[in-house]
Symmetry: C3
Subunit: 397 residues, 3 copies
């Protein structure tokens, strides 16, 4: 555990002032320093909690959650982050029909935010919708504040959109940094973001997109591997190309899983649906074509079944750097012989990486809390120094 | 923003001591000073929050919510109010059948209240049931406390009954007072509470009843307008008559929307179902007659469709005082060409009043919090002075 | 009300140090002193709340609740206990299928616990499953902590398993102790835990099992009465036999309700399903045999109907000690002529004991809070002295 003073010194050396009063939609909209500030604040919050120093900055306040898809992990991470800072989560359970047009988005955004400090949104199911919905909410909150309806402008945290899943990719990255003992160790390391077979269908694209959109920022050699037809959004690929160029790393694509795994330091094998089929699904939903949706599901499951050999097997893992690549996953994984007959990963591989996987997941609440802190606190360095001096125990043990 | 000292001085001049340890069911059970105390405390809480002074008076405690109907706005308002004061909302999701007879009401009231400071109930769907259910809960809580089962008697806030919707009408009234720059400006002003066409059916009567039952307290000329057949409860009309007499204003009725709008300073056009049809529906539900309910719904929708010209059009708005009446609504409104083809209000009218409408809604959390404070705090003047002196920031920005 | 100093002195004389950092599964796994410490801490927390001294020991933290069965009373009790201590409840609503095998239990336990201080589980429906599920979660939390995934090991509170219902039986026992004016008054007193007729089916065994497993610890003469075929788990009966031997009381069984009631000081008449039929049900559920489940339900309801005379009638109550046995129930009761035609208890009997019944229930939140305190606080005596000295009001009245 890095000590608090070192972490706060590190934070004070970074330039992240534009994060104040701003939202977090996509990692590639944030500067390198802003990403590093997020990791550093996450580490500070974790260290404070470990040392039983309460990082509570709100005496009251609401963290509104708007989940347009089921979720256990992200819901608990958001609730944990809010609670750690003193906010109470209030869920907005809204039928999809009620927020179908711009009119009501603006109204809803205002109605739930009179005492909100943060709004967390998960809206990842429909291509071309999630991110734009979040921007619409954000704009409505900005207007609501400027018009004097809201006493403060709550900040928005993207808890998963159709484009990016920043709380996941940022947690994953902090796991990598922690595992390697520092971000400066990442240059030249190879990361394989690969498709993997799952007996289920339609898993969101935001994870692979989030990973290649973020991991290319740190000088790594990032390989995206998937069967033909499982393409991610072209715009995000372009981001990855630009990122790699700027960071001195590389971004490449392959349709060969073995090639991606060869000598990799990090492997992230995971199922997803192709960009194009998700676009088709979105259109079928818009048209209310339930027969079409069923037919598409059947077609996609059949297509998936052509690629059952895309799995993180022991044999493939043995080809990674020293046979010891860090296996990563956002969980839950489809584990062959455990949660399904044939899936994304061999049972023995998953089992060997269970502790690192749980550690990977443990970063998410702190990443979310860090995003909240950086959007709400003008001078976090001074504030942390004050909180540490105040030294209120989190728990009067 | 009125400064805190002025507001607290105003509060200290009012007589509201019987609100302590009492419930809030109907505005017409409260004295004029008690209404004014509620507005003043709402304004104090708002000013404290704006100045980042925490008005938290509970270190722990529950605010039990019992919603017997769906709700987003009132739920968030109640959650915001509870949170601001330090209470945690605990929802009681109870099947309707379980609380069908007095036996279980008494038991439920005790079981959920061992650590409750407040109980908020919304029960507006069935004529003749909601208010009496709340009184039954209130009596049970009183007995539970006197018998020593409960360590404190939690106070009840009516979050909408079949008779009144006091958190709505009080928020609406504080919006009027704020817009006019003081309650003393209201004498002689004209307010039109009018029915309006909606393509949906069975909207609660508690809003128009709450409005005419409250707005007649301040010397205004209140007009209730609706087509024949859309009568509200006669008892509430009688209250309005008496109120107007006592306050030096007037209360009149018309079946002509234009007459109501003419020279009005405030207009509140909104759909509702008639008292008698709601009584019929209640009886059909009691009899479990689902065919009868469907037939009634069809009949009432057809009846509504006879009055599509009852809408807040630009033409009608132009006939109000200076063409600039304050358009009011409890939201969500049925907006012609936006949320429905033909509805309660023209899109352009709604759009012009969007900011005032959201401000109107913004009063509700503070009104609810004020009701809680006045029912739980014996000497609010002293307590507010203490809280301001303590000066704990709501948010350690 | 015993004064705080006396209670804290009593606590300091007890040996309960192994409760720290431990779970609460079954009362018979706890020593006599540990049971007494739980009652004493419950009484301390209650006295502090009555005297408006906040017993809040957490500045933030989550109390995760995992209810695998509907519940109002236990849910509110858990929420109240958590809130009193400063924890926020976060519900884990999980489909049964998702947590069907060891793999996912371990993962789920870790994923929801990154910031959890307590996990409360209710899993009572399936014989042979609930307790073992809780132990699996407990083990996973222990491993998660040892592996460094979790910063603290949250403690587990059994909110009802297939074997025991300790928060209920402990609340019931504290009600008895309070009613009698001290645990030393219980020696030689007679308690009848008897089956009673209910028109419903399949009520859990954990209540009668919990009662005979706990009440035999205090030198009472405990009688378990039920018709042939309504046997409880043999292992728990054996526990009761051993307990009675050790405490100087007795444990006996009868198939005659009148015999059990004769001269009883406490009567606890309540419906349950037999151990064997619940085992059959569990197997039918495992096999997905819905026809079999329906047939079993029919069979069991028919069987129940043979024993409609098993009810706490006025006549039977008259045969108890002085005609004044303390009537007990975990609520809700099936009351003849009130909530059903024929049920567990006469309406007049229930009505006479309404206040004691609600008092009985009022102990549960404090018992749960006491379990949390004893599992999380290393030196509760010192901590309570500190909290009393700090004297933060629970409510700034």
């Amino acid at each position: 555990m890095t000590d608090l003073k070192t972490l706060i010194d590190r934070l004070s050396g970074l330039d992240f002032k534009t994060m104040f009063a701003d939202d977090f939609f996509l990692t590639w909209e944030k500067s390198y320093d802003e990403l590093m500030a997020t990791y550093t604040v996450a580490d500070i919050l974790r260290a404070m909690r470990e040392q039983n120093i309460s990082p509570r900055i709100f005496d009251s306040g609401l963290a509104v959650s708007l989940f347009r898809d089921n979720s256990t992990r992200t819901r608990f991470s958001f609730a944990s982050a809010a609670n750690l800072l003193g906010l109470t989560v209030q869920d907005l359970d809204e039928g999809k029909s009620q927020i179908a047009h711009g009119e009501t988005v603006r109204e809803t955004a205002n109605m739930v935010s009179f005492m909100a400090d943060v709004v967390g949104i998960r809206d990842d199911m429909f291509i071309g919708k999630g991110d734009s919905y979040m921007r619409e909410v954000s704009l409505a909150l900005k207007e609501g504040f400027e018009d004097g309806n809201l006493e403060q402008r709550p900040n928005l945290v993207n808890l998963q959109s159709d484009i990016d899943h920043p709380t996941q990719s940022m947690a994953d990255m902090n796991h990598i940094i922690t595992s390697m003992g520092g971000v400066e160790q990442l240059k030249g390391k190879k990361l394989a973001m690969t498709w993997a077979y799952s007996p289920s269908y339609g898993k969101p694209l935001s994870v692979p997109q989030g990973i290649v959109g973020l991991m290319t920022r740190f000088g790594m050699d990032v390989v995206l591997a998937h069967p033909t037809g499982y393409e991610i959004m072209p715009d995000v690929e372009e981001i990855a190309v630009q990122n790699a160029k700027a960071s001195g790393g590389s971004f490449s694509k392959t349709n060969n899983m073995a090639e991606a795994f060869a000598d990799a330091d990090f492997v992230y094998p995971k199922s997803w649906a192709s960009f194009k089929s998700m676009e088709r699904r979105t259109n079928l939903y818009s048209a209310g074509d339930s027969e079409g949706i069923k037919a598409l599901e059947k077609e996609l499951l059949a297509e998936n079944a052509n690629y059952k050999d895309w799995a993180a097997t022991e044999a493939l893992m043995a080809t990674t750097a020293g046979g010891k690549a860090l296996y990563m996953h956002c969980l839950p994984a489809d584990i062959s012989g455990v949660s399904c007959q044939e899936g994304e990963v061999d049972g023995s591989v998953f089992d060997r990486y269970r502790v690192p996987l749980y550690k990977e997941a443990s970063h998410k609440p702190y990443i979310i809390a860090a995003m909240i802190v950086l959007s709400r606190i003008k001078d976090p360095v001074a504030k942390f120094e004050e909180l540490i001096k105040r030294n209120t125990p989190r728990f009067f043990v």
